[in-house]
Symmetry: C3
Subunit: 299 residues, 3 copies
Amino acid sequence: VGRRYDTISFLSDFGTSDEHVGVVRAIVRDLAPHVAVVDLTHAVPAFDTRAGGLALARCTPYLPEGVVLAVVDPGAGTDRRAIAVEVADGAGVFVGPDNGLLAPAVAMAGGAGRVIDLTDDAYHLGTPTRLFPGRDVYAPVAAHLCNGVDLAEFGEIVDPDTLMPGTVPLPRDEGDVVIGEILHTDRWGNCQLNVAPDEVAHLVRDGRVRIIVDGPVGDPRRPERTIRVARTVESFAEIGVGAVGLVVDGSGMISLALDRRSAADDLAAAVGDQVTFAVLDDEQPGLTSPVTLRTTPPR
Amino acid sequence: VGRRYDTISFLSDFGTSDEHVGVVRAIVRDLAPHVAVVDLTHAVPAFDTRAGGLALARCTPYLPEGVVLAVVDPGAGTDRRAIAVEVADGAGVFVGPDNGLLAPAVAMAGGAGRVIDLTDDAYHLGTPTRLFPGRDVYAPVAAHLCNGVDLAEFGEIVDPDTLMPGTVPLPRDEGDVVIGEILHTDRWGNCQLNVAPDEVAHLVRDGRVRIIVDGPVGDPRRPERTIRVARTVESFAEIGVGAVGLVVDGSGMISLALDRRSAADDLAAAVGDQVTFAVLDDEQPGLTSPVTLRTTPPR
Amino acid sequence: VGRRYDTISFLSDFGTSDEHVGVVRAIVRDLAPHVAVVDLTHAVPAFDTRAGGLALARCTPYLPEGVVLAVVDPGAGTDRRAIAVEVADGAGVFVGPDNGLLAPAVAMAGGAGRVIDLTDDAYHLGTPTRLFPGRDVYAPVAAHLCNGVDLAEFGEIVDPDTLMPGTVPLPRDEGDVVIGEILHTDRWGNCQLNVAPDEVAHLVRDGRVRIIVDGPVGDPRRPERTIRVARTVESFAEIGVGAVGLVVDGSGMISLALDRRSAADDLAAAVGDQVTFAVLDDEQPGLTSPVTLRTTPPR
């Protein structure tokens, strides 16, 4: 017999516009009534394994002991593996597709222990289709895991080194500039970067630094480049009207933020945009006030 | 004393833009603290009893034992009955309005056992209005049912034959064509039909069939008719770029699907559209590639 | 040792577009696994403490015993206090910012008992930032309260008279007219007012009253003023096609409503609009049918 668990933390790209999430909750309640389902988020953009992996990694420091069910699975019905990954000496088990979704969170939890390819369909729901593994494979496996079925029962052992890696972009330090990327914009419009404060500390002068946001080339609805001065602050209120703040968010990374307004809207910035940090050059005084260069895309 | 239940599966058209769902959760927690509320979905379009009934039916095969609270109730405050319907020898009880919402799910659960008109207001919340029966009638009745109050206590017995039927459209087999309807589009844009695979099997040649999607007449934002060739597939990846797939969804019905893109967007299709299946006529080779006929609506 | 609690009712402006709510649920599950989290709503408009306070007050009559976690906190990171407020002899404790958010609900629950400034960071999560107190302060304090840590352990006692008051607008009775305000529009487009039925009863003739909806001045997308006749009704169905109904909603206040359609859309009305009630003057017969005056805003 394996360890029993009481909690399934659940993340997906199922959205809340219909009953997909509800059906998974119902299945878990039916198979493992003692389990509490903790919904992390179901608003991962459809098919976006990178965004889902980043969201799961942001949750990981706060997760309770138990099973983590994560489903963003554009390859449903293909031969990508369905896996369960033990972490932290069995304090947690991640269940989901082997497509990189789980990788950042598994790394953050200390790396993979035992990994199983979920091939034994005795633990799956029998349905006429292979298209909804969230419901038919991952959910029942998560529930049976909570009931104490040992990981080894669900299929074959897999070498952790063969797992699909995640794709978290790293910032580039080019000496006089550091180039990062917007990984996530939250509900209030804060733009989380893949840059830690100490990675740009050498570019900050008197609490100020230049930031250059580069959006996609040729999108007529957005400026290609926005240049601003940002201030390092410890609270949103410190930022001041019209200014851009650099705050350290809960993951220890830098977010671009405004006071009670959306930085994403103000900077016309979006996930995937490149953000360059540079020393503020006082010989260019015009740039200390907000400047937006709008270039007309080629036709 | 009646049977006790531990679970209330909850579906509504309350949305999540305010506290309506939360108030029902609070009432259940207050009256029956041992109960877990399993949210199926609250995104049923406002007042749409047909869509709600179909969503509830899609959930039904997965529901745990217990009470099912379903509220899409445009007739709130009128004399439509509030009912509780026992199914599966008491393994489940559906609670909601007698307006057809419950009918497809009750049928799928094996048909109605005892049915009660919920007239005894000792089990309702006393409020100044009759306009929110989800909160004031259905929720407290569901909670008291879980506490072991027998069904017969809540009001008068009703003849199941007098219940309002559901309105699930059936496909029409016209010999050389089968005409179905889009019942639901999911988060990823898959379009679920009211057509089972064996109902169109005689029209499929080499895994291909013609589909004709007819939208509403005279809507300038949409084509009136879209004609495509669809392929029967077992995974989304098999569909291929630009092609339309016919997949068997979790309910055993056909869905129109694309690989990692929205079929609803690609076909300009929506719930209620008619979908006609016909044999692919190889003498019309042009139709094997995507063709969309856009007709200008009469002014 | 303090009283233990089993329920955390949770309201916020976190939205559901990412994992903020999920992280709070995870923290509670980790620190106090016996607790059920009852999500009231997370769709409070970002930073809108008034709307959040009103939603919390609407929930209050239905709340189970336990802790109420409420987070709409635009002053995160500033020196506004984080507080816990005991109500109903300890049957409930509200936890959140001291910015007026809790005030209407606390008043509705009978007023504040002990109030504590949550300064003891032994009960907070240690994080590199002060910007997410929902996660780092309020959530762990709520969980520890449920575990039986006495309120006095969390910080210094505060005089309830020093708490920030809420800002619920009161209607103005000007004799021949009563002037109220739209506090909330719900999912179905019903417009809740800050006016109780008996406050306008003297203006109603034969169940009818004139209403004048005044939107913002100079917004080209909306009429500045809409004048209609409204009827007092007990059900939506009674309202009739094209008419406006006055219903008594679950809080005992008046809502403007239509039958199966959105009053907010029909009246071009929104939260914050002023609604004036006046006696229907039968000498102006034209006004008994719907009339909308659309004024062109000055350029």
